[in-house]
């Protein structure tokens, strides 16, 4: 197990530090793409996707830095895309909000809330019909549960018993609006329990080991239908941008301080050190920091797309 625990830590540390680097570099205005930061949700992306492994076919949202790095560990491609360079997985056309790399399992991410959910259903249907070993998993926030596409998709997945994993990354906020001022019903869990899928709710969305284990044990349910994981976390930064916004009156910094006590990276590091892996943790951290530095240097040095790239890729067969 130590390898797994260290691996989980390494991926989370990569995500956290890659975003810390974005926070430092963003004010220079070289990354011209709106950033929806993942800080706080690292344990969910890493726990779920490490548990599924190479079979994971991932569908996400505009807040997919964590998902992208957890699934691909492609930090070079990640920074190249954010800098708009031709070496990015989308050749710079996708940017932060549409990070994707189908060859490495991140299929597509969307900046219109809930809209990638039905695509995951279609892909799960493909997997079922083609009998391949892909596991389709779709990440979305609690804001998505306000959208029609969410309800349509939950219904269709359960009706057709599609092998898809829904992951609700529940940070209790849609932009700046809390669930309390968005919902005309009492309790989503009570409603979700009426559907014919495995519904699992976990409040400790910052404990990567726990999320990893929950996901591992839920994969078996896919043989008979969909799985829904509802996982709570706290969004550390503003909805879009690289800053804190605790002085904006819609939330209180004390909430953050409470959640930060169980910060995913902090608690995992603590566990590893207590288990006697201090040296290994240091090595991993050094390795990750070097990776990030290389990635940023490469991205900055890489060329922008040539003008003719503008017209490439609209239609197949051109």
């Amino acid at each position: 197990m130590p390898n797994l625990l260290l691996n989980l830590y390494k991926k989370m540390y990569l995500i956290r530090e890659a975003e810390a680097e974005i926070c430092r570099e963003y004010p220079k205005d070289e990354m011209k793409t709106p950033m929806h930061m993942s800080m706080g949700e690292e344990a969910i992306a890493v726990g779920v996707l490490t548990a599924i492994g190479d079979k994971a076919q991932v569908w996400g949202t505009y807040r997919s830095h964590a998902i992208y790095l957890a699934r691909t560990e492609d930090v070079n491609g990640f920074f190249a895309e954010l800098y708009g360079k031709v070496t990015g997985p989308g050749g710079g056309k996708a940017g932060s909000m549409h990070l994707a790399n189908p060859d490495k399992g991140v299929m597509m991410t969307s900046a219109v809330v809930a809209t990638s959910i039905p695509l995951a259903l279609g892909a799960a249907f493909s997997s079922k019909i083609l009998d391949d070993d892909k596991i389709n998993v779709v990440f979305f926030g609690d804001g998505a549960t306000d959208e029609g596409a969410f309800w349509e998709s939950v219904n269709m997945a359960c009706l057709w018993q599609l092998p898809v994993i829904f992951v609700c990354e529940d940070n209790g906020l849609a932009i700046h609006a809390s669930t309390a001022i968005r919902r005309g019903y009492k309790n989503l869990t009570n409603i979700m329990r009426q559907y014919r899928f495995q519904y699992i709710q976990e409040y400790d969305g910052t404990d990567v080991e726990k999320i990893h284990n929950i996901t591992r044990s839920s994969i078996k349910y896919l043989e008979s239908g969909p799985v829904f994981l509802s996982l709570k976390y706290y969004r550390y930064l503003e909805h879009v941008g690289v800053n804190e916004d605790f002085n904006s009156n819609y939330r209180d910094k004390n909430e953050f301080l409470e959640w930060y006590k169980k910060d995913p990276i902090k608690i995992q590091k603590q566990k590893l050190i207590e288990a006697g892996f201090k040296k290994e943790v240091e090595d991993v951290e050094n390795e990750v920091m070097a990776q990030i530095k290389t990635a940023v240097d490469l991205a900055k040095a890489a060329p922008y797309p040539e003008p003719e790239e503008l017209y490439k890729g609209v239609y197949d067969g051109e």
Binding site: Q57, W59, P89, G90, G91, K93, A94, H98, A100, N101, P102, D103, M107, M108, S110, V112, T115, S116, I117, P118, L119, A120, L121, G122, A123, A124, F125, S126, S127, I129, L130, D132, K134, G148, A149, E152, S153, N155, M156, L159, K312, G313, V314, Y315, D316, G317
Partner: protein, 349 residues
């Protein structure tokens, strides 16, 4: 020459789908009511029986997510055909079409494609009112990444439908309700007609009428009436709205010097304006009169028959516009017989 026989447009749709499903077991059909007893006016007849419920199935009333489902399935190895009994229902899918489907390939740097076919019934029925009466080709053709076809004959229907199914992009097929009963020569074996080729439906030398979908039938009637006066009308059916083969249109207008665009849609910001702009740009010195346009009245579609008759353009509209453009006197039409559906179609669709 392939063995051909006379079949209906409806049968041509069914035959194209059936043959492609036989050829390629990745092809499947889904949508509201595709597997019920009416089988989308017969176009999906026999599919469940022949290919089973995994390859032809009805969906919940969830057009938006159903289309997203199709994009996801098409991006991962299948070839979905999503059928809508009315084009208006596609408005519920615009997010998936215009935010997701059209940019899937572009955003993945060419790694993903969406070989998805969307079939939607358009146009006039029988007192269909505001929401079961439109065409909206311009809305779909406005979007880069989508292709749009509107075949007007059974022959073109089958060949273009097979091309659409084999195309690795999203193709929106807009089929007029009344065309389903038209009949024509159609080869029995599968064949393709390239997407993006206009067709000269009738050759002439005095005036070019560019007509879309059902209005080709009306233009044909108009041409027969005017032929008695010695007017020779050339009819161009673009067949594909996007990508548009404008060269065939330009060649024709350069020959005739006159152009009427009869589009089965509203005029404002529409396909007719697109064609008029291209004709004006490419044929400026050959045009003897400015190009003119015919389309729906600039109103929602009324239900009551006398007003519905005024809403949709027809052969008479084309005849009057031609007379105006060529400076002819008004033809007496009192003895002419035009297309009527009064005895053919009693609804409800």
């Amino acid at each position: 020459m392939m063995e051909s026989r006379i079949i209906s447009y409806e049968k041509a749709v069914n035959e194209a789908i059936t043959q492609e499903m036989t050829r390629d077991d990745r092809v499947f059909v889904y949508g509201l009511d595709v597997a019920d007893h009416k089988r989308i006016v017969g176009t999906t007849a026999g599919l469940v029986e022949k290919f089973g419920p995994n390859r032809c199935f009805s969906t919940p009333l969830s057009e938006d997510s159903s289309l997203g489902f199709g994009i996801g399935a098409s991006a991962t190895g299948l070839v979905p055909i999503n059928i809508h009994i009315r084009v208006e229902f596609l408005l519920l899918t615009l997010n998936q079409l215009v935010n997701i489907g059209n940019s899937l390939r572009y955003g993945s740097n060419g790694k993903l494609s969406a070989p998805l076919v969307i079939i939607a019934m358009i146009g006039r029925g029988w007192g269909q009112g505001f929401q079961h009466s439109k065409s909206m080709q311009s809305i779909f053709a406005h979007i880069p990444g989508l292709k749009v076809i509107m075949p007007s004959t059974p022959y073109d229907m089958k060949g273009l439908m097979i091309s659409a199914i084999r195309d690795n992009n999203i193709v929106v097929c807009l089929l007029h309700r009344w065309l389903y009963w038209t009949e024509g020569h159609v080869p029995e074996l599968p064949y393709t007609i390239p997407i993006g080729q206009s067709r000269v439906l009738r050759e002439g030398k005095d005036i070019t009428v560019v007509a879309t979908s059902w209005i080709n039938v009306e233009a044909h009637d108009a041409a027969n009436v005017l032929a008695k006066k010695g007017i020779s009308m050339e009819i161009i059916d673009p067949r594909t709205i996007s990508p548009l083969d404008d060269q065939t249109i330009i060649n024709s207008v350069n020959k005739t010097g006159h152009c009427i665009i009869a589009d089965y849609d509203w005029l404002n910001c529409g396909f007719s304006a697109e064609v008029a702009a291209r004709v004006s740009n490419q044929c400026f010195n050959q045009l003897k009169k400015p190009a003119s346009r015919i389309g729906f009245a600039w109103t929602p579609c009324p239900t009551t028959r006398p007003l519905e008759n005024l809403f949709y353009p027809n052969a008479v509209t084309i005849i009057r516009e031609t007379e105006k453009m060529l400076g002819l006197s008004k033809t007496d039409l009192s003895n002419e017989k035009f297309h009527t559906y009064e005895n053919k179609f009693k609804g409800p669709f």
